[in-house]
Symmetry: C2
């Protein structure tokens, strides 16, 4: 008998019929002799509706009250799923973040889990009940409702699996697992059977939306095995686990892309201490996430700085840079939002040189120009023109022999 | 400086614009120097949507989980209203039933308030905050969410006013107060300035939907003055208070009607002990509320029994009575759902005879037949044919001189 934490996202719970489907899936795990804790998101569309209410009252809604409002989405789902399980003859009980209790810090809208009390859940499991927990939410030390930020239910699930010392955390989604590339772009993309936490972290931060980055960090820190799989089939999905010897044989695990990038170049700024801080200080204060930063070689005491942000953040980034441009004596500011990032990821890179050069020559062969390059131990990313995104993903997938043996 | 509890219903909070209107109304009470606690219902339509979710999973949804789901409606509203108040520069904080805490028994879907802790609210008031509390909900001794039943926010507000020893409980609604009759039926209906708890109890139980009956009982028991008034005007509404000498001068305060009645007659049953119990025992077990019961004079050891239930409960009532008809040896069962109840209410009746006879002759003059009569110390009700309802209300309003001096 295992203790399994299962997490179902909003698209798996989009309407009553889907909730019933999820309920029978949960029940069969229980009937197979497992203890089951289910973590759920809000029904698809619900969170957006609640956010719309808030933002129509104020552009920047009060964070404490925002959390009071948006956390109701998950509360609706836990009640409905527990109800559905009971109609099927399974004993089930729902718990809010407060009832569990999931303790977080007080950073409303993006709180971090500090501690999860396992006693209430364990008591219900011992009594033979399926426990349905609201994802995405917790309480701070004053008993106020907090939320973990978009995708936070993944983190709730992994954190619960860690706290309960579960055997596995199953993340149910509308795809079969993690693929070597987006199957919509690369026909021969192959489902990955096992992937390491570090690779998954890179893939998640490179734009894939299957798992929230923080949940992977959490899983890595606590050694929680994650199984990403489809709500709608019985197939094995992708296991995200700690690195093992088998994984190292694979040099590159996958190719990913992110079309949500925009590029800002600040030309001819004096190359002296403090300039970068003057630029990126106010950017960080405005909560704008900077992805890549490139600084060219300094010529005659001047340099060019280029960085990328999300397309949505570009207008505010331009505003901020324009504001400091006098102070930093920038000659010109150029922006481009028709760029994408393509990346190859794999733990095997560590012990194999030549990944970057294979990538560059594969792109060059198709006449795709590389605008920016960034590397980590297990990843190489390039910024290219947006219109070449799909082509680039396909040639890289081919260049690293990631395709299926048979289509 | 007063401590005011204000309650706003769903129609006053139907959309974001209305929430902003309520917020400015609340803020002006605060700006006038009062401590203000606001109790809110779910936005109009929300509770129905949540109930529909539940009933599409199961005809009789699990009560514990039903409460988890439907209580989210009020949680959304408290967050939005507190948020709206903050955008107007008022300091405000929202509290769920659990956060207050409002302790109830464990009768899910129709829980009763046992105790309200005033400390958290008083602390926020002392800090100068407007406190926005979710109506309709509480927690039981296991920390489970409970709800008080439809219209329960009225009871939440009155109970809070009692616990906080508030100076007044203001019930904001979409009408100007309590009227001598439904203004849609009687053009000359007059707003009542003051009415006693007992009269209000009769009026509420006679079909008027302005106040939940239990909230009036609560107000009576704890001596909480209720002020029923419009969200959309500054006019004084109707004060519901303990009886005073002025009230006694008025013999009849108002005329009410209820079209939601149905009549069941059981003919020729043996008139012996235990028969009534055999009929009304199973009816009560099925949670069917019986309004009037009439038993005719027994002839040759047999009698006829007639009672009324709501139209919605009629099919189940028939089913139950048919089930026991053999046992009680009933000759025939007749039903009629084309009936209404018209009533006159007033504390002054106690010291004035003749109210019933004035009522009967006013109805007779219009040729309206009376099918059943029921009286209490301060009320006379008649069951009549539905089609005469509005006519009956108008002639009674006239007969007791309830109209406005000038139209």
């Amino acid at each position: 008998m295992s203790l399994i934490v299962q997490k179902y996202g909003g698209t798996s719970l989009g309407d009553i019929e889907k909730i019933m489907t999820v309920a029978s899936r949960v029940k069969s795990s229980k009937d197979a002799g497992n203890d089951v804790v289910v973590v759920v998101s809000a029904m698809a569309g619900e969170t957006n509706k609640l956010v719309d209410y808030c933002t129509s009252i104020s552009e920047i809604p009060d964070p404490r009250e925002y959390d009071v409002v948006v956390s109701t989405g998950e509360q609706v789902t836990i009640g409905l799923l527990a109800m559905a399980l009971k109609t099927m003859g399974a004993d089930a009980v729902s718990l809010t973040g407060s009832q569990v209790a999931i303790h977080t810090d007080s950073a409303h809208e993006k709180a971090r889990i500090k501690k999860i009390e396992s006693e209430t859940i364990m008591d219900h499991l011992k009594a033979g009940r399926i426990v349905v927990v609201a994802g995405f939410q917790g309480i701070n030390e004053r008993g106020e409702i907090t939320t973990l930020g978009r995708g936070g239910s993944d983190t709730s699930a992994v954190a619960l699996a860690a706290a309960l010392e579960a055997d596995v955390c199953e993340i149910y989604t509308d795809v079969e697992g993690i693929f070597t590339a987006d199957p919509n772009v690369v026909v021969r993309a192959r489902k990955i059977d096992r992937i390491s936490y570090d690779e998954m972290l890179e893939i998640a931060s490179l734009g894939a939306k299957v798992l929230q980055i923080r949940s992977v960090e959490f899983a890595k820190n606590y050694g929680v095995p994650i199984h990403v799989r489809s709500t709608f089939t019985e197939n094995e999905g992708t296991w995200v686990t700690k690195e093992d010897s088998e994984m190292e044989k694979v040099i590159v695990s996958g190719v990913s892309y992110d079309k949500n990038e925009a590029k800002v170049s600040i030309l001819h700024v004096p190359d002296k201490p403090g300039i970068a801080a003057k630029i990126f200080g106010p950017i960080a204060e405005a909560n704008i996430n900077v992805d890549m930063i490139i600084q060219n070689i300094s010529i005659d005491g001047f340099t060019d700085l280029t960085f990328t942000v999300t397309k949505a953040d570009l207008p505010r980034a331009i505003e901020i840079i324009t504001g400091v441009s006098g102070e930093i004596k920038a000659q010109e500011i150029l922006t481009d939002d028709r760029v994408s990032k393509v990346s190859v990821v794999g733990t095997g890179m560590r012990s194999h040189s030549g990944v970057a050069s294979t990538m560059f020559s594969a792109l060059a062969k198709e006449g795709i120009n590389i605008m920016m390059i960034s590397t980590s131990e297990i990843k190489v990313s390039c910024i290219i023109e947006s219109k070449y995104t799909e082509l680039a993903v396909r040639v890289l997938h081919e260049a690293f022999h990631l395709g299926q043996e048979t289509v």
